[in-house]
C-alpha cells in the first residue's frame, strides 16, 4: 500500500494526533490502495485468473444474448397472435403504445423503489466493518459501488424497454435503438438522483415509498387515459440532441454523487449494503422468498405508531389468521402489488390489440400469480421463523389450512375485479364471477404451497442446455406453487380460450380447488415422485418382513 496525492497525512495534523499510538505514524494510504490490497488478497486465494474471468464474461454475455433473443421471440410471437384490428367492441379503450407508456411509468416506479431499498450506495458487511472505520477518503472506497448500480440500471432498462418496443410495438431497428438509449439514460439518471437524495440524508424508506406510489399511480393513469380517450401513437423518446444533453446531465449527476459520497452516513451505507448483500445472495441462489424479505425488511419502519388491537384474535385459529392479516396490512409494497395485479386484466381487456384469448389468458395468469405472491407474506415469514406457529396449539396441517384464509380473502377480491373484467369482455359477467369465486382456493393454496417450499436443492442432477447447465433440483423446488396455479386452474384457462363459461367448468373448478387445498395442506417433504418411490420402498420392506 503506497501513498499518493489522495493520501491523508496524519503527521501533518498534530492537533488531531490520537492519544494512544500503537506505533510510529506515517502516511495514511489512499482509498484505492486499500481496495487494491483487499482485492489482490482475494484474487490470490480465489484462484481467479484472467482466463477464468474471461470465461465468466463469455458465459454472462452468451446467457444475456440468448435470454434476450428468447424474450424477443416470445414478445413477437405474442404480438403476432394478437389481433391487428380492435376485436373488443368497447366504448372504453386504450391504445397499445399508451399501455406500453403506462408500463414504463410502472417500471420507473419499480426502479425508484428498488434504488431506495438497495441504497443505492452501500457497503456490505466486511467493507462496513473494516473499511469504513479507516481515516481514508471514503469516496475512493465507495466509488466502484456507486458506479455499479446506475450502470446496471441503464443496461437492464435498455434491454427491457428495447424488448418491449421491438416485441409488442414491432418498431424499426433504429427506433428501438433510440428508445433503448433514452431508457438507459433515464434509468441511470433516476438511480443517480436516488443516490443524491441518500447523500442529503433522505431516508431510504421515503425513496422506496415514492417508488411504490409511482408504481401504484401507473394503473390509475391507465384507467384515466382509457376513460378520457387520450392516447399516444408511439413511445416518446428524446431527440438525438436531447439524448446527448441528457447524457451530459447524467454525467453531471454522476460527478455530483461522486463528490457527495463522503457525506453518506455509515449507518445508511451499512443498511444499504446489508440489504444489497442479502438481495444479491437471494437472486444468485434463485430464492425469491429471501429476495422478497430482503427488499421488504430493508425499508421497513423500526417502530409502529399504532399498535394493532388484534380484536379478531379470539382463539388459536383466529390469532393465526389475524397475525397474517396484520402482516399483509402493514406491507405497503404487497398491497400496491395486489392493487396493480387486479387492474392488469381490466386494462388488457380494454386495449383492442391485446383483448384476444392469448392476451387475456396471459394477463390473468401473470396478474393472478403476482397477486397471489403478494398475499402469502404471512406464510413466508412463518416458514422462515415459525414463532407464532410454535406457540399455538395447532397441528401443522391445520396451520397450513389457516394460512390459506388471508390469501383466500385477498384473492377473492382480486378475482371479483379480474374475472369481472373478463366477464365484461366476453359478455357473461355473472358466469365468470362464479368461476372466479370457485377458483379462489387454488390461488390461496398456491400461495401457501410456494411459501412453504424447501430451499432450492442445488444437489440435484444437471441438464445441459445451450444457456449452460440447468439444475433440475432447483427447478423442481421453484415449481412448487406455480404447478398448482397451472394445473389447478385448467378450467379457467380453457374457459378463457373458448371465451365461454359452462356449469360443468365451474363444477370441475370447484373439485380442483378442493384438491389444491388438500395438496397445499400436506406437510410431506419431497416431490410427488419421491414420495411415491419412498412409499413403494416402504411397502417392499413390509412385504419382505411379512415373508
Amino acid at each position: 500500500m503506497s501513498g499518493d496525492a489522495d493520501a491523508v497525512d496524519l503527521t501533518d495534523a498534530p492537533a488531531v494526533l490520537p492519544a494512544v499510538l500503537p506505533g510510529e505514524l506515517g502516511e495514511v494510504p489512499a482509498a484505492r490502495d486499500i481496495r487494491r490490497y483487499t482485492t489482490q488478497a482475494a484474487n490470490a486465494r480465489g484462484g481467479a485468473s484472467l482466463g477464468s474471468l474471461l470465461a465468466s464474461v463469455y458465459y454472462a454475455v452468451i446467457t444475456i444474448a440468448i435470454a434476450s433473443g428468447m424474450a424477443l421471440g416470445f414478445a413477437q410471437a405474442l404480438r403476432v397472435s394478437l389481433p391487428p384490428t380492435p376485436e373488443a367492441d368497447a366504448a372504453v379503450d386504450l391504445s397499445l403504445p399508451t399501455l406500453v407508456v403506462v408500463m414504463l411509468l410502472g417500471l420507473v416506479g419499480i426502479l425508484v423503489s428498488l434504488a431506495g431499498r438497495l441504497g443505492p450506495v452501500g457497503a456490505g458487511g466486511a467493507e462496513a466493518a473494516w473499511w469504513l472505520v479507516l481515516p481514508v477518503d471514503r469516496r475512493g472506497l465507495l466509488r466502484p459501488a456507486a458506479r455499479r448500480l446506475p450502470l446496471v440500471a441503464a443496461f437492464v432498462a435498455a434491454i427491457l424497454v428495447g424488448l418491449l418496443d421491438a416485441g409488442l410495438l414491432a418498431d424499426s431497428g433504429a427506433r428501438v435503438l433510440h428508445v433503448a438509449v433514452t431508457s438507459a439514460l433515464v434509468a441511470a439518471g433516476i438511480v443517480l438522483l436516488a443516490a443524491l437524495a441518500q447523500s442529503r440524508g433522505l431516508r431510504r424508506s421515503t425513496t422506496a415509498l415514492v417508488g411504490d406510489l409511482i408504481l401504484a399511480a401507473a394503473p390509475v393513469v391507465a384507467v384515466a387515459l382509457a376513460l378520457t380517450d387520450w392516447s399516444v401513437d408511439e413511445v416518446p423518446t428524446l431527440p438525438w440532441f436531447g439524448a446527448v444533453a441528457a447524457a451530459l446531465l447524467v454525467a453531471g449527476a454522476g460527478v455530483l454523487v461522486d463528490r457527495r459520497l463522503g457525506r453518506i452516513p455509515t449507518a445508511s451505507l451499512r443498511e444499504s449494503g446489508s440489504v444489497a448483500t442479502q438481495a444479491v445472495g437471494a437472486a444468485v441462489s434463485l430464492d425469491s422468498r429471501e429476495l422478497g424479505r430482503a427488499l421488504t425488511d430493508g425499508a421497513a419502519a423500526p417502530t409502529r405508531r399504532r399498535l394493532s388491537r388484534l380484536r379478531t384474535a379470539r382463539g388459536p385459529a383466529t390469532a393465526l389468521v389475524t397475525a397474517d392479516l396484520v402482516v399483509l396490512r402493514r406491507s405497503a409494497r404487497h398491497l400496491v402489488q395486489l392493487a396493480i395485479a387486479a387492474i392488469v386484466p381490466v386494462l388488457v381487456t380494454v386495449v383492442p390489440e391485446l383483448a384476444s384469448q392469448a392476451g387475456v389468458l396471459f394477463a390473468v395468469l401473470l396478474a393472478g400469480y403476482v397477486a397471489m405472491s403478494a398475499t402469502g407474506e404471512g406464510a413466508r415469514r412463518a416458514q422462515m421463523a415459525p414463532i407464532l406457529d410454535r406457540l399455538l396449539p395447532l397441528d401443522a396441517k391445520t396451520v397450513r389450512r389457516l394460512r390459506m384464509v388471508v390469501p383466500g380473502i385477498a384473492m377473492l377480491v382480486w378475482s371479483v375485479v379480474a374475472f369481472g373484467a373478463v366477464g365484461r369482455w366476453t359478455g357473461d359477467v355473472a358466469g365468470w364471477l362464479v368461476l372466479g369465486v370457485a377458483s379462489t382456493p387454488v390461488w390461496a393454496a398456491a400461495a401457501v404451497r410456494s411459501s412453504y417450499r424447501p430451499a432450492p436443492d442445488w444437489g440435484g442432477a444437471l441438464v445441459s442446455t445451450p444457456m449452460g447447465a440447468l439444475p433440475t433440483g432447483v427447478a423442481a423446488v421453484l415449481a412448487r406453487g406455480p404447478d398448482v396455479v397451472v394445473l389447478g386452474l385448467l378450467p379457467v384457462w380453457i374457459a378463457v380460450l373458448l371465451r365461454h363459461v359452462s356449469p360443468t367448468m365451474i363444477l370441475i373448478q370447484a373439485g380442483l380447488s378442493a384438491i389444491a387445498v388438500t395438496v397445499a395442506s400436506s406437510i410431506a417433504t419431497g416431490s410427488l415422485m419421491e414420495r411415491m418411490l419412498a412409499s413403494q420402498e416402504e411397502m417392499d420392506k413390509q412385504r419382505k418382513a411379512n415373508r
Partner: protein, 229 residues
Amino acid sequence: MSKPTVRAQDLLVGYGGAPVCAPVSFTLAPGKAVALVGANGSGKSTVLRAVIGLLEPTSGSLRVLGEPVDEREVAFRAQVASVLDDDAYFPALTVHEHLYLTARGHGVLGADALVRELLEEFGLAEHARSLPVALSSGQRRRLLLAAGFVRPRSLLVLDEPEQRLDRAMRDRLAARLVEEKKAGGAVLMATHDPDLVLAVADRAVHVADDVTRLLSPAEAATLISRENP
C-alpha cells in the same frame, strides 16, 4: 485541564423517534474509563452506537473530543476506535491481513511487527494465516478486539468485550484496558462483567428505562451481580 473525550448531557437515543432508555448524562475524561451497565435490552449498546456516530441522538447533547459527533469526518475516525459485535470479515483475508489492513489503513508504520505482537497477546498467533471461516466464535471475537488495539485512538468504545472470552483472556483484556488509560486513552464500555468494571472503570452509568444513575465501580459491580446471580 484537558477537555473531556466524551460529554453526554440528557442524551436520549432510540429508533424511529422512540427512546430505548431514560436520558443519559456522563463525562469521560482522557485516561479514564466509564462502564455502562444495565439489564439486557436496557439501551447500553444504543448509547454506544450514538457515541460512535452510527445513530443520530433523539435529543440532548453529545460531544466527542469537543465536537458534535460526525463519523463522516476523517479526524473522528482517526481518533475513535470501536469494537462492536460485528461478525463480518473479508472471506479471503487471513487473520493477519485483517489486522495489517487496519493498522496500515491508519498509517501505522511497522505494522507487520505490531500485528505479530497483538496476535501473540490475543492468542491468535497460530491462526495468523487462517481465514475467518476457520476461526471459532471466541477467536473471531479476539480478532475484533485486536483490531481495536492495532490502530491509533483517543477513545476506545467496547460493546460487551467480555463476550465469548475465557477467564484468562478477560483478565488480559482488563490489564490491556488499564494500560490504555495510563497511555492517556479514554475507554467507554458496555459490560455485564463485574470484575471488568472493578478492574477498569472509574465511573459507571446504570442505563435503565426510568432513570439513569451514576454509580461507583463497586456499586455497579454489586448491581451486575444482583441482576445476574
